[in-house]
């Protein structure tokens, strides 16, 4: 049967992920607990920002991971288009909402942080704006992949979008930077990235790792659900 051939690969994946996932979840939970305790309790408050600096431990990792997530999405899209790898489609479907959530977390924590730091929830800063656009690229991907009755068509359309989007992300970033320097924004405070104190840097790096683990675990888990859903769809269709 042709359809079993289609599932062969994902089925193998499923066996693999079922073995790995429980352990992964355990490690992730541990890492998160340690990381949260470290960053929320142990790490010293910033001498300028006080306790609000703790938002950083969520904000910065979620920003980086959301950006990395889009690259992953594009890679999955390319492998679907080039090698017609069926698992790639299901994984892309699983990745996009996770990436979008991370992006949303970054936006929300950023806004909450902005209120005490800049006196407003939002400024039209280059980094913020280009990140907002990345968030919308995610949303477009999700909406497109679900806009068809035929899920496979949605998969391929979204894959094309992801690849084109990935080429455009650096261009968008570059142009937004240019836009902002051109207009010389009044004055926007920001932390100086590199000169961060080690007592903050280490928990930050730890949280980055923990949230990356969470990202992977979520993607694996959602891929399993997608496989089940697709399998159900096929079963339903064999009237």
């Amino acid at each position: 049967m042709a359809d079993l051939h289609f599932l062969a690969n994902p089925a193998r994946f499923r066996r693999f992920s079922q073995r790995v996932l429980p352990a992964l979840w355990l490690v992730t939970a541990l890492a998160l607990v340690i990381g949260l305790y470290w960053s929320l309790v142990i790490a010293p408050p910033d001498y300028q920002q006080g306790d609000t600096v703790r938002i950083m431990f969520l904000h910065v990792p979620s920003a980086s991971l959301a950006m990395a997530g889009y690259l992953l999405l594009a890679a999955l899209g390319a492998s679907l288009l080039v090698w017609r790898h069926p698992l790639a489609a299901l994984m892309a479907r699983a990745t996009a909402p996770v990436g979008a959530t991370y992006a949303a977390v970054c936006l929300i924590t950023g806004s909450l942080w902005g209120r005490p730091m800049w006196g407003t929830y939002w400024v039209w800063d280059a980094r913020l704006t280009s990140f907002l656009l990345l968030f919308f690229l995610y949303l477009g991907h999700i909406a497109l992949s679900r806009a068809y009755d035929d899920s496979e068509r949605g998969d391929r359309a979204a894959a094309i979008l992801a690849v084109v989007g990935a080429i455009n992300v650096p261009i968008i970033k570059f142009s937004v930077d240019w836009w902002n320097t051109l207009h010389q924004p009044a004055s926007i405070m920001r932390l100086d990235g590199p000169s961060i104190d080690p007592s903050l840097l280490w928990p930050l790096l730890w949280m980055m790792g923990a949230l990356a683990l969470l990202f992977v675990a979520l993607v694996l888990m959602r891929t399993e659900t997608e496989i089940d859903r697709r399998r159900l769809e096929i079963a339903e269709n064999q009237d």
Partner: protein, 220 residues
């Protein structure tokens, strides 16, 4: 009866999956973001143009989705079924525009304050923004509906009429935007809002007939 059925059918077509409304909202946000990108990030400048930006984006959102309001029915033969329904076509026109408003105008009005906030509008202006959008967007849906009905079929005159229909939006836009401006400068906004309401009522009272007439023409 038929009104409700058509209204609900259209809503169902749009709401086949819940993500569809999110798309309209997301699109609305992206559209507004374009203006700071074009104009620059100075926040006091942005606050001044916020009213115009939000109303232009609302106009765009309405037009973009209205385009297909009747065209889809026209092309797949469903318009004949509408024309043959045993109740006034005016009601059908109204039902379609109402359904359109519920899935674009209404969500826009709810979302607008968030964006207005990012543009630096104060709380009072935000409130007025929501009010004007609630009152004014039905008129946009109706006017857009007329343009959509007029451009069905091949008639060259449709071009001219559609060209005339769109400027009908101008009064709505002007009073919508100026109500917000007036609030920002401390004047009262009630007059503007009242005029806006009057415009909406006038559209409501006249446009369904115009739309129905245009649809009948297209059915021939």
């Amino acid at each position: 009866m038929g009104f409700g059925a058509l209204f609900l059918r259209d809503l169902r077509l749009v709401w086949r999956r819940p993500g569809d409304v999110a798309v309209v909202l997301a699109f609305f946000v992206v559209a507004t973001v374009l203006f700071p990108l074009g104009i620059g990030p100075e926040s006091n400048l942005l606050a001044r143009i916020a009213a115009g930006v939000l109303w232009a984006a609302a106009l765009f959102a309405s037009m973009l989705s209205l385009d297909r309001l009747f065209a889809a029915d026209y092309e797949d033969g469903a318009l004949d079924l509408l024309l043959l329904a045993p109740w006034p076509l005016e009601l059908a026109a109204l039902a379609k525009c109402a359904a359109h408003w519920v899935v674009t105008g209404l969500p826009l009005a709810v979302l607008a304050p968030l964006i207005g906030g990012a543009f630096g509008l104060d709380d009072r202006s935000l409130l007025v923004l929501v009010l004007t959008l609630l009152v004014g967007t039905p008129a946009l849906s109706l006017i857009g509906g007329l343009a959509a009905a007029l451009t069905l079929g091949a008639r060259r005159s449709g071009a001219l009429l559609a060209l005339l229909a769109l400027p009908l939006c101008v009064p709505t836009l002007i009073f919508g935007a100026s109500a917000i401006e007036a609030t920002a400068t401390g004047e009262g906004f009630w007059v503007h809002l009242a005029i806006l309401g009057a415009l909406a009522l006038m559209s409501l009272a006249t446009l369904p007939w115009a739309i129905a007439a245009a649809l009948r023409q297209a059915g021939e």
